[in-house]
Structure formats: structure tokens, C-alpha cells
């Protein structure tokens, strides 16, 4: 659809119905959002922030997303205009420029029937067999360009059917997806009822002729021992249920995948000389078993998650790598940390072989004192250690103007597997941390945080500190520094490991739904994750401006 036509349509609709957030849905209303990132790249070879076009010749880059959504009488229509200019989001080591209509969609409800067309985000269950979603910091936008029909059979029972092709930036991938799902709700008993929310989903994937040609041509070069007969179609099926009883909630999902072609980085391929190399196409079934159970009372909060994954690399095109073309989303099995050093080593969800569990215990001792303990355990199915994390936190709030957090994190991280770094030993870290927030008065506040990471591996030990001063109306100033206090790694161009400071200086202004941020940043190379999906980001040096606004 021509973007100009859609934008014109929105302008006309808005002029007819006015800019009226307060109007009801019957009258129609327009909402929208803007997100903008702008980076000035300042080359700093001392931290390896160089060797990409942004540092060498372009110096400026950024990206923006502008969304509009109009709702009236059960009809919702939206569009999003995306722009990338010398952006390092798509490929952190390169430059990407493009612009255009990133998304459009229309949804209409007719009593029990709901029809959606366009670029659609959706998921079945927890997303293991199908999740179409967007994560901007990782350049993930795998919306389905197609249609979905949802029908409410009863008040407690919905069924849905969808079909389409997966988005690839401003293009679409070949191949197609179709799916069915059913979600049901039942409540048993009146006082303290047991509720059940069972569901089932089915996805059919059909790879394109081009993708098949490439696989066939690759298999031609394989020895007979590694060859197989490739097929176009594969299927995934999942059953899931949430059971709640009083303070207990239990979610369980079992997903199966039929024979499907995928590239297994760990499978051994035989070479004509008789040797073995890592990585080849395989045709295999897959499965994921996932469960989470939680209990919450006034004082105690408990949660447990467990997962077993085998051969569940499910993509629209088996030839795609990295974060491209995912159909499935497998939930992570570790705590999502926020502090700079406690978040430094985060595990990427392993699709081929993983067994994991996580336990989280919160206890409220008094109104002023809370504690938290979390433990994550991740291995391969063969028992190789991938990740361990012990995380503890004490939160003490003696009065309304002072909040203190502190604790300890211990991590074991298999850098060899997660970052494919040869000869890298298990990174073992020990991170004590604190965070103190003092409200000086009604208008002013001060927050100080600090972490120390002790490790003998990778970059060595770190010290990180941050001071943040906030005052009404909506201003926040911060200064922080991450210091490689006991360095272990020799960076490119250096003759030995050097103690390097990575400082940041920034200001944030937030008013209502608008937020502006300007920061001078020097950032060390590290893994950036969102919900268990991670990638290795190179070092950054420069100035970052970001804006987000809703209207």
C-alpha cells in the first residue's frame, strides 16, 4: 500500500474527528508515538571503537520510528514510518540506511468476529511455536504480513487462524506461515475457585523455492553420510495451560516440532579428507518443555521455572542466521538484571540443546525490609555447564525519603559457547553492589549506585559507579564511570592490558509522556540482551540523543 495514501487518510480522518484523545471510541480518536535515536560517533581506538564506517567517514547515525493509530467503532488502523540513517542497529559492525513504511495494520471487530490484516504482532502460548514481535534495540521486527481471524465461540473460548509472510526490514522473507490456536478459560468452584486457561496452537511453515534451492545445492556438496532428503513443510504444535488456585499460579507448555531443516552449529560434518568440522544442515524433530510456578502471599513470594529444549531452531528460512527469521521465541531462564555490571554476562537462549531452571524467593521481613534470592542453572542436554547465577538483594527503606538496595551476584558464564570465543574459560564473576536513593526534599533527589566485579577472566575486574541527581520538574543528571581496575585483555593497538575508564555523562528530561535524553558515552564491548535474545555489541564512543513521545 502506498505510504502517501495511508498518511493522507490519517490526516483526513484526524481533521474530521479532531485531535481528541478525550473523545470516546464511538467518536474516534488518534494516538501516536515517536521514538528517535541519534548518535555522534567519536573514534577512540583505545577502546576499539573504530573500524566501522560511522567512526571512519560518517560520524553521525540514527534511527526513528513514528507510529499513528486511529480507533473508531471497533475499527483500529495504524501505521509506522521507520527511518535508519547510517545506523548500527541492523549490524553493529556496519552502517545501514533505509526508510519507508515499517508497518501498517487494520483491525475490525464484528460482535464475535475480529479480523486483522497488515503487519501483525501476535503469539501462541508463551511464544515457543510462534511469536511475531518487535525489539528495536536488537533490530528484531518479525511481524507477519498477512491476515488473522479471531472468533469468540463463547465468552470463555476463542479460536484464531492466521497466515502470511514474515517481515524482513522493508521487505518480506520468502516462504509462508499459517497457524491455528484455541484459548479457553474455565473456573471450577465459587469460593477459592480453581481456574484453568488451557490452550493449543499449531503452526505450519513452508519454505520458499529459493530457500530450498540453496539447501539442495549445499547438500550436493555434502558426503552421503551427511545428506538427507529436504522437505518444504514443517509443523509445530503446542499445548499449554495456566492453573491458578488461591495464591498459586502454574503455567506449563509442551511444544513439538516435526522434521524441520535447520543449521546446527554443533553438528559434525565429515569432510572429503575424512576429518570433521562443526556445523551443517540437519533434518530433525524438536521439542521444548517449559513450566513456571509461582506463589505469592503478603510476606513470601516464590517462583520456579524449568525448561528443556532440543533442536528447536525454528526459522522461516533455514539459511538465515543470527537473529533473522525466527518464528519461535523460547523464554529465557535467568534473571533480567539492570545494573551495568550485574547485567554484563547474560546468557543467550540455546535452541539446540539446553536444560535449565530458575528459582526466585522474595521475603518481606517488615514493612521496611525485603530480601530476594535468585538462582539460575543452565546446562546443555549433554551436561556441559553453560550458566550459573546466584543473585541476592536486600532492600531497606527506613523512611519515606531513603531507600537502600544492596546484594551480591555470583555468575559462571560459558563465553566459549555464548560468544564463540576460542579457548575462553568459564567466566567466573563475583559482584557486590549497592544502590541508595535519597529524597532530599519534595523537589530534589540523589541516587548513588556502585558495583565491583571481581573476575580473573575476559576483561578482568571492573568498578562501576553512578551518581544521579533529580529535581522537579522532570530533570535528571547523571555521571558514571566503568573502570577496568584489574585489566586482563590486551586491546587492539595496545601492548599489554591497560586500565581504561569508560565514563558517561548525561541528562534526562521527562514531562508527561515525553522523554529526552542526551548522553556522552564510552561503552565497553559487551552482550546486549532482551528477553533471552542477545548479541555481541562492539564498544561505543560518542554522544547519544534519544527522544520518546506519545500523544
Amino acid at each position: 500500500m502506498n505510504p502517501r495514501i495511508i498518511i493522507t487518510l490519517f490526516i483526513v480522518l484526524n481533521s474530521i474527528y479532531g485531535n481528541s484523545q478525550e473523545k470516546t471510541e464511538q467518536q474516534g480518536f488518534l494516538t501516536g508515538s515517536v521514538e528517535l535515536n541519534a548518535n555522534v560517533f567519536i573514534k577512540d581506538s583505545s577502546i576499539n571503537a573504530f573500524n566501522i564506517p560511522q567512526y571512519e567517514t560518517q560520524f553521525f547515525g540514527g534511527e526513528s520510528w513514528v507510529s499513528l493509530q486511529y480507533t473508531k467503532n471497533g475499527l483500529t488502523a495504524g501505521l509506522r514510518y521507520d527511518m535508519f540513517l547510517n545506523s548500527n542497529l541492523r549490524n553493529p559492525t556496519d552502517s545501514y540506511s533505509d526508510r519507508g513504511l515499517g508497518r501498517w495494520w487494520i483491525k475490525k471487530s464484528f460482535e464475535k468476529l475480529e479480523i486483522s490484516v497488515g503487519y501483525l504482532y501476535d503469539q501462541i502460548g508463551s511464544g515457543i511455536i510462534y511469536r511475531a514481535y518487535e525489539t528495536r534495540p536488537l533490530f528484531i521486527d518479525n511481524a507477519l504480513l498477512g491476515a488473522k481471524i479471531k472468533y469468540r465461540l463463547t465468552d470463555d473460548w476463542n479460536i484464531s487462524a492466521f497466515g502470511g509472510q514474515q517481515k524482513n526490514a522493508f521487505d518480506i522473507y520468502g516462504g509462508s506461515l499459517q497457524g491455528l490456536s484455541s484459548d479457553y478459560f474455565v473456573s471450577l468452584g465459587e469460593t477459592s475457585p480453581i481456574t484453568l486457561s488451557p490452550g493449543a496452537g499449531f503452526v505450519h511453515k513452508n519454505i520458499s523455492n529459493d530457500a530450498m534451492d540453496r539447501i539442495v545445492n549445499s547438500l550436493k556438496g555434502y558426503l552421503p553420510v551427511d545428506r538427507f532428503g529436504p522437505i518444504y513443510s514443517s509443523y509445530a504444535f503446542s499445548l499449554y495451560n495456566t492453573l491458578t488456585y488461591k495464591n498459586i499460579s502454574w503455567y506449563a507448555e509442551a511444544a513439538l516440532k516435526s522434521n524441520d531443516i535447520f543449521y546446527n552449529d554443533f553438528a559434525l560434518q565429515t569432510t572429503p579428507s575424512g576429518g570433521l568440522t562443526n556445523g551443517k544442515y540437519v533434518l530433525d524433530r524438536g521439542s521444548v518443555l517449559y513450566t513456571s510456578i509461582s506463589y505469592a502471599s503478603k510476606k513470601l513470594g516464590l517462583s520456579f521455572e524449568g525448561k528443556r529444549t532440543e533442536n528447536f531452531n525454528f526459522r522461516i528460512d533455514p539459511n538465515l542466521r543470527l537473529l533473522r527469521g525466527y518464528i519461535s521465541y523460547i523464554p529465557p531462564m535467568n534473571r533480567q538484571n539492570t545494573y551495568r555490571l550485574t547485567a554484563r554476562y547474560a546468557p543467550f537462549t540455546q535452541e539446540v540443546s539446553e536444560q535449565a531452571f530458575q528459582v526466585d524467593v522474595k521475603y518481606k521481613w517488615t514493612k521496611k525490609l525485603n530480601t530476594l534470592i535468585n538462582f539460575s542453572y543452565i546446562n546443555t542436554l549433554d551436561g556441559d555447564k553453560l550458566y550459573r547465577e546466584f543473585f541476592s538483594e536486600v532492600n531497606y527503606k527506613p523512611n519515606s525519603s531513603l531507600t537502600m538496595n544492596g546484594g551480591l551476584q555470583v555468575v559462571n558464564y560459558n563465553q566459549n559457547v555464548y560468544e564463540q570465543k576460542p579457548e575462553a574459560p568459564i567466566v567466573k564473576t563475583f559482584v557486590p553492589y549497592f544502590d541508595i536513593l535519597k529524597k532530599i526534599n519534595r523537589r530534589n533527589s540523589l541516587r548513588v549506585e556502585g558495583q565491583y566485579m571481581h573476575t580473573q577472566q575476559d576483561f578482568g575486574s571492573w568498578l562501576n559507579g553512578l551518581i544521579e541527581y533529580g529535581f522537579v520538574p522532570g530533570w535528571l543528571f547523571e555521571i558514571s564511570g566503568m573502570f577496568n581496575i584489574v585489566p586482563k585483555r590486551t586491546l587492539i593497538g595496545a601492548s599489554k592490558p591497560e586500565k581504561i575508564l569508560y565514563p558517561s555523562l548525561g541528562a534526562v528530561y521527562a514531562k508527561g509522556p515525553n522523554r529526552y535524553q542526551l548522553r556522552y558515552v564510552k561503552q565497553v564491548e559487551g552482550v546486549v540482551c532482551s528477553g533471552g535474545i542477545c548479541r555481541l555489541e562492539p564498544a561505543f564512543s560518542g554522544v547519544r540523543f534519544s527522544l520518546s513521545s506519545q500523544f
Binding site: 573500524n51 564506517p53 549490524n91 559492525t93 556496519d94 552502517s95 545501514y96 463463547t154 470463555d156 479460536i159 491455528l180 484455541s182 479457553y184 474455565v186 471450577l188 488451557p198 493449543a200 496452537g201 499449531f202 505450519h204 529459493d210 530457500a211 534451492d213 540453496r214 539442495v216 545445492n217 549445499s218 547438500l219 550436493k220 556438496g221 545428506r227 532428503g229 529436504p230 522437505i231 518444504y232 513443510s233 509443523y235 504444535f237 499445548l239 513439538l256 516435526s258 522434521n259 543449521y263 569432510t271 579428507s273 576429518g275 568440522t277 562443526n278 556445523g279 551443517k280 544442515y281 539459511n319 542466521r321 543470527l322 533473522r324 566459549n416 564463540q420 570465543k421 576460542p422 579457548e423
Partner: protein, 285 residues
């Protein structure tokens, strides 16, 4: 109480419907596994005089590059004399290891890698500098796809011939090249020639997944370019059977083992960047 009874009566019925729906889904899954596999055709060596330029973006700190090198070895066996490989050790993952004997980085390889940006990572390969459909960039990062792309290029018609006469003086280590380009058809556009000097059989360290290989044999290492990195122009709108001649000379540095050197020549159409033909000759011949 009436409401409760209604609830009790309706709930099992709805549950049964839901179970039936799930059973239908299950049946769909179980009945959907009867697809006939696509047959894998036997390999046939294309009958052609075409030679493909294969520019391999690699590095001693690239853990997946030994796998890429294995694929190249297999392709050289599969397509004998049909591929001219240039190993480009540019910037990414090319810093020598602490115990490395050699630094394979050169100004030419750095510039060539820059010229071939963007690419997702290493190993990657430019195959006649074609941007293949469904690939995000010209550089192909999935090594298993290389043979099929090379085969596809070999099936294209040959439009131009390259002839080479090389004279090497051992005493002065001076190499003189006389090149001739003979179009087989009229060829629109402006064309340029690139000449690469590569070296084989260099034993040194190489990272691989999980370890460092101490005695890795590095092949096709780009040592020098006798032309500009983007090539030297040879003419515009080339006419059929109209011979174009060029001459180059180069003094081979003493640290290069002459017997292990390859000279690779490639003809490029400037506007598309497409390599129409390549030629590889060994200096020991």
C-alpha cells in the same frame, strides 16, 4: 443455585468441544508428515571456461574461518581450475595472536575489505561480487551456500577471455606480466582489471572454535595488488574480438616464497561491480 447448575452443566460440554478442537489440531500435525523429500541431484561439473573470483574475508582471530577454508578446499577439488581464491585479511579479526609469526594484514587487504563492506561477519565470501537474491549483502556468510553460488556462476556464459604471459627474473625477483583481454561479444559499460598476488602454504597460528591451531596452513593470503584496489580501467564498450593489452611489473619482496605465489587476474564491469572472468596462474609454472 440455578446459576451454579447451569455452570456445572455447560462447563464439561465446552471442555469436550475444546478437547475435540485440540484433537483436530493434533490430527493435522500427525497427518502432515508425508511430504516426499526433494531429491538431491548428482553433481555435474559445468562444461565451461569460466573462472570465478572468490574473495574470502578471513582473519587469524576468526574462529569459524577454518571451516570456511575447508569448504574452499572442497570446492577447489569439486571445481578444479574454475575458482581463483583471494584470502583477504583486512581489519576485522585479523590482529595477529600473541605468538603469531606473521601479520597478514596489508594496506591492500584493508582497503579491499573496506570496499566489500557491509558484511555480517567472518568468514564471508564475495563470489564474482554478485549480490545474490535473499542474501542481505554481497558477502555471503553462510559457508554451506558457497558451492551452490559458485556452481551458479559457472553456469553463466563466458563473455571474455583473459590471456597472460608472465616472465619472472629470479635474480632481480622482477615479475613482468603481459595481459590480453578478448571479448567474445560486444560488452557495454566500462571495465577494469584487478591483479592480486596471493601466497599459499604459510604455517602459522589460527583461532578456531574452542582452541588455537598452532600449525595451521594459511592458503590464498593476499599479499599485494598490482592494480588499484578497485581495479585499473581497461576500456569502455568493449568490441567483440577486439584485443586489449596491458602490462604490469612487480618486484617480489624477499619474504615471499615465489614457488607458493599465485597471480590472479579479474575483469570487472564498473557500474555493477560484477566480475566477468578471472584467471589464476602459479609462478612456479
Amino acid at each position: 443455585m440455578k446459576q451454579m447448575n447451569t455452570f456445572i452443566m455447560k462447563t464439561p460440554l465446552k471442555s469436550i468441544k475444546h478437547v475435540i478442537f485440540i484433537a483436530i489440531l493434533s490430527t493435522l500435525v500427525l497427518s502432515s508428515c508425508n511430504e516426499t523429500p526433494v531429491p538431491i541431484p548428482d553433481f555435474e561439473l559445468p562444461n565451461t571456461q569460466r573462472v570465478v573470483l572468490f574473495e574470502y574475508l578471513t582473519g587469524v582471530k576468526c574462529p569459524n574461518c577454518p571451516k570456511g577454508s575447508n569448504v574452499i578446499k572442497n570446492m577447489l577439488n569439486t571445481f578444479p581450475d574454475k575458482i581463483a581464491v583471494v584470502g583477504v585479511h583486512g581489519r576485522l579479526q585479523t590482529e595477529p595472536l600473541k605468538e603469531s609469526k606473521y601479520d597478514f594484514r596489508t594496506e591492500a587487504s584493508r582497503l579491499l575489505e573496506e570496499f566489500h563492506r557491509p558484511f555480517l561477519g567472518k568468514p564471508s565470501a564475495m563470489i564474482n561480487r554478485v549480490k545474490f537474491a535473499d542474501e542481505p549483502f554481497r558477502a555471503v556468510d553462510l559457508v554451506d551456500l558457497w558451492p551452490s553460488y559458485v556452481e551458479g556462476e559457472l553456469k553463466k556464459p563466458q563473455l571474455i577471455d583473459i590471456a597472460l604471459t608472465s616472465l619472472y627474473d629470479k635474480a632481480s625477483r622482477r615479475l613482468n606480466l603481459s595481459l590480453g583481454f578478448l571479448p567474445k561479444v560486444n560488452m557495454a559499460g566500462t571495465y577494469s582489471v584487478s591483479i592480486f598476488v596471493t601466497e599459499n602454504k604459510i604455517i602459522d597460528l589460527q583461532e578456531t572454535i574452542g582452541r588455537i591451531i598452532p600449525d595451521y596452513e594459511h592458503e590464498h593470503v593476499l599479499r599485494h595488488m598490482m592494480t588499484n584496489v578497485t581495479g585499473d580501467d581497461i576500456g569502455t564498450n568493449l568490441s567483440r574480438n577486439n584485443l586489449i593489452s596491458k602490462a604490469y611489473s612487480y618486484t617480489i619482496p624477499s619474504e615471499f616464497v615465489v614457488e607458493n605465489l599465485d597471480i590472479i587476474i579479474a575483469i570487472r564491469e564498473n557500474s555493477t561491480g560484477y566480475i566477468h572472468q578471472a584467471l589464476l596462474t602459479k609462478l612456479d609454472q
